[in-house]
Amino acid sequence: MATDITPEVIEKHGITPEEYARIEGILGRAPNLTELGVFSVMWSEHCSYKNSKPELRKFPTEGDRVLVKAGEENAGVIDIGDGWAVAFKMESHNHPSAIEPFQGAATGVGGIIRDIFTMGARPVFSMNSLRFGDIRGEAGATNRRLFAGVVSGIAHYGNCIGIPTIGGEVYFDDSYAGNPLVNVFCLGILRHEEIARGAASGVGNPVFYVGAETGRDGLAGAAFASRDLTEESKEDRPAVQVGDPFREKLLLEACLELLASGCVAGIQDMGAAGLTCSTCETASRGGTGVEIDTELVPKRETGMTPYEILLSESQERMLVIVKKGQEATVREIFEKWDLPYAEVGEVKDDGFMRVKEGGRTVVEIPAKQLADDAPIYVRDAAPKPLPHPSDTATLLENIASPDKPALEAALISLLSHPSIASKRWVWRQYDHMVRLGAAVLPGSDAAVFYVREADKFLAATTDCNAIYCLQDPREGAKIAVAEAARNLACSGAVPIAVTDNLNFGNPHRPENFLQLRESVEGLAEACRRFETPVTGGNVSLYNQSPAGAIDPTPTVGMVGLIAKAAHITTQAFKDPGDVIFLLGGLGHEIGASHYLLAVHGQKKGAPPALDYDKEIALHDALRAVIRMGLIKSAHDCSEGGLAVALAECSISSDVVQGAKVRIPASSERTDVILFNESQSRALISVGAKNAAAVEALLSWRGIDVLRLGSVTKDPTLEIEVAGLTISWDAQDLKSSWGDTIGDLMAGFSGN
């Protein structure tokens, strides 16, 4: 295509005049249109992190267990002992899901799974972290449609490929209306010696293309993901890709078989920016060059130009660099799995990414500069906003202290708030039992998965309270990490590493960039304190709907190890007569709480403050009593505070348990006592015979221990506080909590 490179064309590619000058500098000439396209995707935020790299560098990435660091490869790799390792990562598919929820979410799952098996790991489980606008009422119809579509898209892809989806989170808030967040996590298992590299090593080695034929899918999707979501984006038709989980299943099995056969020199998935990204990244990592011929690429459509072929985002494709002489084995394996494949080029020594169409050279760019010399921008951050009030008096100024009926109603409103209500409607649609590893099913603090091949128990969770992050991004981010670690501790696990997904608005707006920076610094600091290096993740900026930027959402995915099956602990109360303890005190911080949001419709105040020493002491204490086999359940206090945590303990398993508790006198208002969200707190239940021992042990460890009462046969939750005795029928609580989402979603099948 001899379109000449006008300023308009350059701008249409999202390339600034400065960037264009830089391109001419690198090439020593003007780029042709195809080359311009290649630069535009490689230098988009999605691929180059040009707006976030300086921030990402703040993350701790070192650690005794780290085998492959963040950024080195598609995903980090972490040692779990006995020669085994895990590769895991989180990725976002926010914008595609806004346009076509089912396929957008499905292809997101496909993408993260490829990132994992590209490392030579067998994917063993997935999780997902989702955000939508409010799904209630007339106004919620669009959000319900998006929610239903995203969930069935994730189910469709994950269930079909046979990788269990064992956990995740879903929050609803109107800041996400029209711009849902779809962050998907996948973890794979491998032997240390099985780590595969995405490098084009070995000059003269043939380069194979395998997987789905290339079509005009998602042209410029990477660029698309790096722009604001506007009304026009709905017209961005080509950006929608359709996933084929069946193909991916064949690709997954074939690639693992191929890697095991020892004939692979390098391997790289084709994610965003497809063929472009994979050729130039492998060349750049290998310090070599790669030459491919677009005429050899398997195609789904006729008349495709090199530009279209290079920028296509067709799914379920991989680039494999094969050790010369072993081509036959490769062909045999791909044919066994009925996969389209072709030898499309070879590794060169000249450092160029060179693309030919037949004989004619259409792209010739120094690979390293293309991959690594994207401009880096340090955007201006707005000056720090004034801190929000944190003192109870100011926050509750116009809120009368509730009487008994009001307190009864408040707990119901909290439990039936979609963000707190049971997510069974979601995880019931996910096959979470395939592969026979789900030792703790969805619905407890963390998912626990038994990796049979390695004989290891892994615990995993995703967390982020975006209201906290909105009110104070740094503190909110710290709490996201702390809560993840707390969830793992409650399950009996020791955290080993973190992946994160940074979801923010347009970074050109100083207030958004401030949120990004503050969040990253908060995450980084907390990850250092909890000794969980960041193994990788993803940045999604430009999450704006016409209504404005989303609440800042730095999602944390954390993985931990559980030493023995016997240590696996869940949140639900087990037996009548067991004694209930609250660890970490009654707390008092009501700012940014779900009580203010769900009951009084206010997002305001400073989030609770995190005290690392207190938090870490709690985790160590929890693990200690768990290892001693002294406790029967553990659950952390988060959204909705003590009262919601108590209710969840009694209703979150099939067998509903009652509880009778008495809260010691306190100077705080009853609503503050019941619903404050002060951090570093957990509820545990203990067999009567061990109660004294546990109490002594924990206090000796300096934990603030309160004996609240006991689990009861009679299915009633009874709380005595400040002279009031409030009681709820546990079955009623269970239905307000358990049926809310199903009822709201009645009639929405998602596909």
Binding site: E100, D217, K234, R237, V240, Q241, V242, D244, S314
Partner: protein, 76 residues
């Protein structure tokens, strides 16, 4: 009583794995000359009275199909 059939079919440019799989299977069962196959939905709607055409058009576009990946046609 009117009967209307809305056919929803994946856009030509959009990947249709189901269509591809079906084409393969048809070839294997010995049918020759099979080219491209696309699998879509056929939605048969009975109406008590003749439907409001404009409304029907709107429903076919916004509810029964997804304009981002599918085309539709209304018969009857």
């Amino acid at each position: 009583m009117a009967k209307v059939v809305v056919t929803v079919i994946p856009k030509p440019s959009v990947l249709d794995p189901q269509g591809a799989a079906t084409a393969e299977a048809m070839k294997h069962s010995g049918l020759t000359g099979v080219g491209r196959v696309r699998v879509g939905k056929s939605i048969e709607i009975e109406f008590d009275e003749a439907p409001d055409r404009a409304k029907l058009e709107e429903v076919a576009r916004d509810l029964l199909s997804n304009p981002v990946i599918e085309d539709y046609r209304i018969e009857g």
